[in-house]
């Protein structure tokens, strides 16, 4: 596990203010140079004059709050989005300057997007065909198979993915692994710059670790990486330089060694919530009410309890949650008095109504309670949405905007609000903090604790051990079954890991 303290150097906040646009010192000629790039979506200034360069051997950590413009910057760098102002230049292999999507590819720039972008109907090796233009002609399958298998074995030794598997049948983590491997795989033009937009958000700790060490070797061999993550520890672990974004600008850019973690959080613009005092397990217990749920596979929770589901990704946690949710919802009688509400982690698949406004997305679950003889009380709906907008801090100027105009993290907040706005006594959360920035996470933790104190129970699956450790009780899953139930002081990283890996024999 990456430990922050080993890398962190305490520096004064004042230093953070000397924000510069360009790279601090480029050892070689830069691969990509962004000068004063601007992207405006209507009134939203997603990028408001960003300048940065990245050179071979560098690993640039890009961090910032939800909606800061990180993903937009990525899209500009990889040529997918033409900036409304400013310039992007690529250094082509033959020394020329280039611009545009085709040149970006010719330059060896590869992207792993925040929203998964594989085709679920293709096999793993076929997915490579979409990314690698040179895969044509007789025998292309063999070549593709070789490339992806090599990359997977290199980055994620011990993985279980066959090149012939259909992507749609892989778990979320496996899909993410495939995408990452495709990004680093060999091709006619070798990867020179790989952009990873929140690559670890659905990976469990062990696999994330494998990725981080691969990035280190890749950069050591002269490759360049842009690494975006809300997990600051990871960024500290791999980045040689960190750029902090806020509201479409880069407000700080320095070698990693010159940052402290606290300094970073401050720079990102959040009131640094002190790591909340650890719960006193003993006192919390007494407040818990009677047992209100028990599932056949052994999950149980009491009133006001926060129950965590842990274990390696893809070991049946999400399925257990979904089974439980399905069994307690869907009937007409449960519409006004829902027994359980759901917070999705895989937004696109499980959460977002893509053609609706933020408002309608937010109120969906609670709306039946705001109806009179079947008709919706539209003023009540607005009030509800306005209330939650301020409570959870959704960054938009108008709740009537399309949900898809929000950044990933803000969409996630809307989904949170959707579930918490309802009166359901149990809330099921399927890795809900995926892609949520540090500040917002702290707010969400607080929210969850308050709600629990108010008598709500939570079932919370998370890929982050640190989140699970905040729970009152933890069920660790292995191979689709509960392998351990931890309570009180037993909830710690060691025990969780032990229960996750036991008898699996793949200690990584």
């Amino acid at each position: 596990m990456p430990r922050l303290s080993s890398r962190t150097r305490i520096k004064g906040d004042a230093e953070l203010q000397q924000a510069t646009g360009a790279g601090v010192s480029a050892p070689d000629a830069p691969l990509v140079a962004l000068t004063d790039a601007r992207v405006h979506f209507g009134a939203v200034r997603a990028l408001d004059g960003v300048s940065l360069t990245i050179s071979p051997g560098e690993c640039l950590g890009l961090i910032g709050h939800n909606g800061a413009g990180k993903s937009t910057a990525v899209n500009v760098i990889n040529g997918g989005l033409t900036p409304t102002g400013g310039q992007v230049r690529y250094l082509l292999a033959d020394g020329r300057d280039g611009s545009g999507l085709a040149d970006a590819q010719a330059c060896g720039i590869r992207s792993v997007f925040q929203e998964l972008s594989l085709c679920p109907n293709l096999t793993v090796l076929e997915s490579l065909r979409v990314i690698h233009r040179d895969l044509t002609g007789i025998g292309w399958r063999k070549v593709a198979q070789g490339r992806i298998a090599k990359a997977l074995a290199e980055i994620f030794p011990g993985h279980q993915i066959e090149p012939g598997m259909t992507v749609g049948e892989l778990t979320l983590a496996e899909r993410q692994m495939v995408e990452i491997a495709a990004g680093f795989s060999d091709g006619r033009m070798p990867a020179r710059l790989v952009i990873l937009d929140e690559p670890t958000s659905s990976l469990d700790a062990a696999i994330a670790r494998q990725l981080l060490s691969h990035i280190n070797t890749f950069c050591a061999k002269g490759g360049a990486v842009i690494f975006i993550s809300h997990m600051l520890g990871e960024v500290f672990d791999v980045a040689t330089r960190i750029d902090v974004m806020k509201d479409g600008r880069i407000i700080a850019s320095k070698p990693t060694s010159e940052f402290t973690q606290q300094g970073l959080i401050d720079a990102m613009g959040h009131v640094a919530a002190e790591k909340s005092a650890a719960r006193a397990p003993g006192s919390a217990k007494t407040e818990l009410g009677e047992e209100i749920l028990k599932t056949p596979e052994g999950l149980s929770a009491r009133k006001g309890e926060i129950v965590g589901l842990a274990g390696l990704a893809g070991h049946g946690q999400a399925e257990a949650l979904a089974r439980f949710y399905m069994s307690r919802s869907g009937k007409l009688g449960q519409v006004k008095q829902p027994e359980v509400a759901f917070v999705a982690g895989d937004r696109g698949r499980d959460g977002v109504m893509p053609i609706w406004s933020i408002l309608r997305n937010l109120t969906l679950t609670h709306l039946p309670s705001l109806t009179n003889r079947g008709l919706v009380d539209r003023d009540g709906e607005r009030r509800l949405a306005a209330d939650w907008r301020s409570r959870i801090g959704i960054r938009t100027d108008n709740m009537d905007n399309l949900i898809l105009s929000l950044s990933g993290g803000n969409q996630q907040k809307v989904l949170f609000a959707r579930a918490l706005a309802s009166s359901a006594p149990i809330v099921v959360m399927d890795d809900p903090m995926r892609g949520v920035d540090v500040g917002t996470k702290q707010e969400a933790y607080q929210l969850i604790r308050n709600e629990a104190a108010g008598g709500r129970s939570f079932l919370w699956y998370s890929t982050e051990t640190e989140e699970v450790c905040q729970c009152d009780r933890v069920f660790v899953f292995r191979n689709g079954r509960i392998s351990a139930e931890l309570t009180g002081d037993n909830i710690n990283e060691e025990n969780i890991l032990a229960a996750s890996f036991e008898m699996q024999g793949v200690g990584t």
Partner: protein, 320 residues
């Protein structure tokens, strides 16, 4: 005249239903131009009457189409025929049985919709094929029950369906009433929200507490009930049920939905557009007939106009 009104006017072309109405007005103008304005009232009244039938089935089809890709009700014509056949046979021309006859028609709709839904839900058959297969069964039932004999509707019912109220055809009034009710359901009620959520992302809707199966069942049943209602009125209007009476409503019901600006990708429906589409489908044919164009040219122009309208009305979707 305040600013917001002016803004609204310029905003009109962006409304999905605008183009259907605009094209209807053009077709109407072109037809009456031929006679120097004579016959305008007659044409309007005919258009309003016949569009009502298309509009009612179209509304049912719209509910189904809003459920998202793959959802479409191909059993509408057969349901119309079956409901009309059984209802007219039951009434046997007797005035006293007009309302019970309506009940029979509605029951047929309920049954057909329920059966369609059962095929989709219990046997997991894709809706297009489930409703197509079911329609063959309904057709057989209609043949078996009456062997295609045309039974006259009760006098009162025939008079009602062909009559008018203060100059507005009765069928138009019924069609408008159903449209208004559908609009309220879709735009203002919780059920409308659920239908739209279902159409956009069924899985997410289910996980947000939407009772998706109830929504789907009600939607397919509504479509069948509206089809039966149309069958009942259409048979009374045209003097008896015929085995092939609903045939042309298959394409029309889909066409009015899409011309009217409902998104075929699901989740976005548009009630005023249904009436626009229904009027247009009638007026295009009238216009082309009036200009004496042959069947071939008429078909080509109808197709071109449909594509033209959809192309004109397309644009990036707005938030709802």
């Amino acid at each position: 005249m305040d600013k917001s009104f002016v803004l609204k006017l310029t905003d009109l072309p962006r409304r999905p239903w605008f183009w259907a109405f605009a094209a209807s007005v053009l077709a109407f103008g072109a037809t009456t131009y031929l006679t120097d304005g004579r016959g305008g009232a007659g044409l309007l009244s005919a258009a309003l009457t016949f569009a009502a039938f298309s509009a009612i089935v179209g509304l049912g089809q719209m509910f189904v189409i809003t459920l998202g890709p793959g959802n479409v009700d191909l059993s509408i014509p057969a349901t119309m025929t079956l409901a009309a056949t059984l209802a007219l046979k039951f009434m046997h021309g007797e005035t006293a049985l007009v309302l019970p006859g309506l009940g029979v028609a509605l029951l047929v709709g309920l049954g057909a919709g329920g059966f369609n839904y059962a095929l989709i839900r219990l046997l997991r058959i894709p809706p297009i094929i489930a409703t197509l297969s079911a329609s063959f069964l309904y057709q057989s039932l209609a043949i078996w029950s009456n062997r295609g004999l045309r039974i006259k509707p009760p006098e009162v019912l025939a008079d009602f369906t062909t009559g008018s109220f203060f100059g507005i055809p009765n069928m138009t009034l019924i069609g408008l009433l159903i449209a208004v009710l559908s609009w309220i359901v879709l735009e203002r009620s919780i059920f409308g929200r659920w239908v739209s959520a279902f159409g956009q992302n069924t899985r997410a809707a289910r996980l947000s507490g939407v009772p998706v199966e109830v929504v789907r069942a009600v939607t397919y049943i509504s479509s069948a009930v509206l089809a039966s209602l149309t069958g009942y009125f259409l048979a009374s209007f045209s003097g008896g049920a015929a085995l092939n009476m609903g045939a042309e409503y298959l394409l029309i019901s889909i066409a009015v939905v899409v011309i009217g600006g409902s998104s075929i990708a699901g989740g976005n429906s548009n009630v005023p557009g249904i009436w626009g589409g229904a009027l247009l489908m009638f007026l295009i044919v009238s216009m082309l007939n009036s200009y004496g164009l042959g069947a071939g040219v008429r078909l080509i122009m109808t197709g071109t106009i449909i594509i033209g309208i959809v192309a004109a009305a397309s644009g990036k979707g707005r938030a709802v």
